[in-house]
Symmetry: C2
Subunit: 184 residues, 2 copies
């Protein structure tokens, strides 16, 4: 099972691809799509075509996307919505099922704490995928939402078997956060 | 010059195509895209593919789109933004320049009054394009934004010639509104 995670934004859209083998997660790739200084339509086109290219190149089985922060500024919310629309459209046109997770669900799944800081997410993503370096903020969020989806699927499967619900992500990896620090 | 006007929405997206021959406007087609009851990604895909089909079928030279109403409900603004993102992406991927107009600019250009009611826009669109019936609300707004663009281009052209700025749309047609009623 190969999962493409997307963290959409009008200026920078993060992406991350990972594979799930049983309970093990394997990193494939990650990075960002930058839309430059063009007009809104030009930027949306870059997001759409770049996500379409990722789908074609990496052929994921499913996609997970972070729900955007609903800003207090309605104009910002509208701009984010448009970027998100372009990204989801590319995934949907590419024939992928798209799953949505809130930033809180992502943090809960990755760090084990829904109000974790960005740096904690970055650090845990690197550890869960045994990366040698820490990915950037946007790529890290995209990998995080892919991890979140990988584990939620696991939970759904175990629920379907009427077995006990497994504790998410972190416990399975033997990693915990305590006072904002990793506890191996 | 053929103009495609779009009034985006997640449930219903209006469209209208018209041609500008000098100062004369000619109706080509109009209608709505309905997205049904599917998931968000499925709906965005319908918007994208339908707009792409309109571009391919009618081969417009330029596109005009209504700026969505920034709702007091941030969740609604986000949904509208996503629909708008899918529509603009289709126009941009189709190689079209996209021009944006606020509802107020649209009403000013079509009715001559920025706070005109929906029914006044519908009535004036029908008159300006000499339609035998009144188009529906969404198709009417899409035709309205195309008319708005047709006239704003006219104004820009006359400004470029350093001539006097012509009064918009309505005066040129000899039509005016008075107390919400048309005055031939």
């Amino acid at each position: 099972m190969r999962i493409l995670g997307i963290d959409p934004g009008l200026r920078v859209t993060g992406f991350g691809v990972l594979e799930k083998h049983g309970s093990r997660l394997q990193y494939v790739t990650s990075g960002v799509i930058r839309t430059g200084e063009g007009t809104l339509p030009a930027r949306l086109r870059i997001i759409f075509e770049s996500v379409a290219e990722l789908v074609e190149t990496y052929r994921p089985d499913q996609a997970a996307i972070e729900k955007v922060f609903v800003n207090v500024n309605p104009q910002s919310t509208l701009l984010l919505g448009q970027a998100r629309g372009a990204a989801i459209t590319a995934l949907s046109v590419g024939g992928l099922e798209v799953f949505e997770y809130t930033p809180m669900q992502l943090k809960q799944a990755v760090v084990g704490y829904g109000r974790a800081r960005k740096e904690q997410v970055q650090e845990m993503v690197a550890r869960l995928l045994t990366l040698t370096g820490t990915p950037g903020k946007d790529a890290s969020d995209a990998l995080g939402v892919a991890i979140c989806h990988a584990h939620s699927g696991e939970m759904l499967a175990s629920l379907a078997q009427a077995g006990p619900v497994r504790s998410p992500a972190l416990a399975a990896k033997g990693l915990r956060m305590r006072r904002g620090r990793l506890v191996g």
